[in-house]
Symmetry: C2
């Protein structure tokens, strides 16, 4: 499933085989939670945004329109018109972040739907069946995601349960006759020893890949990178490593430097809707007064469909006029930026220049752009 | 500018030459009021929706971002990235429908902006200069649009002023050195004699085209068609005839039958955002329960980008999940439907079968679709 091609200054260059084609790592996966990309981008359009893999969510799609319905419609790929690989998140994270009146038991999680309040039970078996129904190419384990900070005692109990759930996930997938790769998820809050012990436990299951979950959920950046540095040495070298839900451009560069291969984040589209734009000179705000008569594209070095066709002046006007086209144009730009960023990272590793790339870009890309005089004032 | 090719059962088949290419009539113009198509469709994408001409609005663009700014940015075509013809509405209609504290004087209209309340004066000269700055290919006269019903005395005064304004529009365009064709607008409420007298007056100015304005603003359908039937015999035969702001698919077929050549309407995109979809079987609602597991496209005979890629089940899901992609997909479908409808009308006239086309489609297309059992219940 995974070939590790090269390591350059800690950064790994790899290749991941999926039932729907081979993808290159480091990889950014484009979030399509409800089988739709936020901002009004269609799945077929993701190809032109250099997207290699889409990410959908088992919890959201189970609630609405229902994974059974999607199965009847021929699976998620056909439903959303995307023929590339799809990774599905297990619903573990959402059962904790969205659901009301949650009760965690050994068998799974009892909760109420965030949309209509109806009672739902989801355990490892249910999550596997949902992801199986969706027809995803990479299945994520059903885990408990504990928000930080959390009591040490609770975290210890929780990771024990997450390990037992992982075993049940693996067994259920086998029972379903699925050949889809299952990725285990490491948990343990910000406790390095628990993280390492848990990583060792789940590595013993010899799964095709492993994720680091439960980060970017309340802890500081320092804690996040401390945990990543603590746990990655215990992740199997020959298997893909996925840092869930992270992050800014510099987070991605810094995590790649620590040996991470896969990423996903809602930031490109969420920020886009609020006119926050990623560029090769740093972050900027499309509604800035200084763009009122600016004929240049959002990013002069960008080849995305937005930058090839539209000026900063036009996009600023669309935001000021309240046109939803504004959010679509910035969303497709930001998604392209993230996909192109990982492409540039891969190129830097291939060329043996990752460390120089990191030094040049890591700070710059997550800082305010300096191409105008008033940039720093507006945030 | 205009060649009348054929008349079939009252329907006219023509060809309109503009500075940006020749377009075929009957013609539906796609509304891009603020230099943006509602629903999140980009201007370059209009080509794939069979759009021949875009329509922008002088009032809206004067208020925001400013016609001077658009001129500095190289004009409207470059600003919105559309190289086909653009017709600009004069702002006359908006000065009456949107502006606050309006005062109509001989020199023009004093009013407050609908966005920020600032005081604005717009008369024939201002409107011509704005449309000149925008770089439009077809300029509309600045007129007074009176909502129906209106007192006969007021309407008589108003059309007198509209005629005097039209003379000033023509003179101002000449002063600007513009070669852009100016279309005069017929007014007169629902009073046939005033309509005819006004039409004869403005026909005397020998303009390149004429529009019927002030319809679909409160009167009944019967009154609307009565006025159209009264006035079209007095419109110059060899010049294009534009019915402003109309209407449903059957309104368009019926107006073509009465000798109208050009149309515009916000209905395709406005209805799309509320999940109302035009199909070759009639009108339907994309959120209908009966589409929950329907793999068919919105319209089985449609070749639009939405129907080529997505099912009714998927689009229904997008609306239920509140995804803005829903409105984009239905908007591009409805725009394609309107453009394809006028294409079918042109084909019917070419084939000498317009009357049969009208009998088959006029009622059907604006009625609820009958492809399901529960259609009629939901409206």
């Amino acid at each position: 499933m995974f070939t590790l091609i090269k390591i350059d200054s800690g950064a790994r260059r790899g290749r991941l085989e999926t039932p729907r084609g081979t993808v290159e790592t480091p990889l950014f996966m484009n979030v399509a939670t409800t089988a739709a990309i936020k901002g009004g981008v269609t799945a077929p359009e993701l190809k032109a945004l250099k997207c290699q893999t889409a990410l959908c969510n088992a919890y959201h799609l189970h609630i609405r329109p229902g994974d059974g319905l999607i199965r009847e419609m021929g699976g998620l790929h056909r439903f959303m018109s995307w023929d590339g690989p799809i990774l599905t998140d297990s619903g573990g994270f959402q059962a904790f972040s969205l659901a009301k009146l949650r009760k965690v038991k050994e068998e799974g999680v009892y909760f109420q739907s965030h949309t209509d309040g109806r009672k739902i039970f989801m355990g490892p078996e249910e999550s596997m069946r949902i992801q199986h129904n969706l027809g995803s190419d990479i299945v994520m384990a059903f885990d408990e995601c504990v928000s930080n900070p959390a009591e040490r005692g609770y975290v210890e109990d929780s990771v024990g349960r997450t390990t037992r759930w992982l075993v049940r996930c693996k067994e259920e997938l086998e029972r379903l006759g699925s050949r889809r790769p299952l990725m285990g998820i490491n948990q343990g809050g910000v406790y390095e020893d628990i993280r390492v012990r848990h990583m060792n436990e789940i590595a013993g299951l010899d799964l095709p890949g492993y994720a680091v979950g439960g980060l970017a959920v309340g802890e500081t950046k320092e804690d996040m990178f401390r945990v990543i540095e603590a746990v990655t040495p215990f992740m199997p070298v020959g298997k893909p490593r996925y840092l869930m839900g992270v992050g800014t451009p510099s987070d991605i560069i810094e995590a790649v430097a620590r040996g991470i291969d896969m990423f996903d984040c809602v930031m490109p589209t969420r920020n886009a809707r609020h006119a926050t734009v990623f560029t090769s000179d740093g972050i900027t705000h499309a509604t800035n007064e200084r763009y009122a008569k600016d004929e240049k594209p959002l990013d002069e070095r960008c080849e995305c469909p937005t930058c090839r066709n539209f000026s900063r002046a036009y996009i600023r006007h669309l935001f000021k006029a309240g046109e939803i086209l504004a959010g679509r144009l910035t969303s497709q730009h930001n998604l392209y930026f993230y996909n192109a960023l990982t492409e540039r990272i891969r190129g830097a590793i291939d060329a043996g220049e990752f460390d120089a790339f990191r030094r040049e870009n890591s700070l710059k890309l997550s800082r305010l752009s300096t191409d105008g005089e008033t940039g720093a004032d507006e945030f």
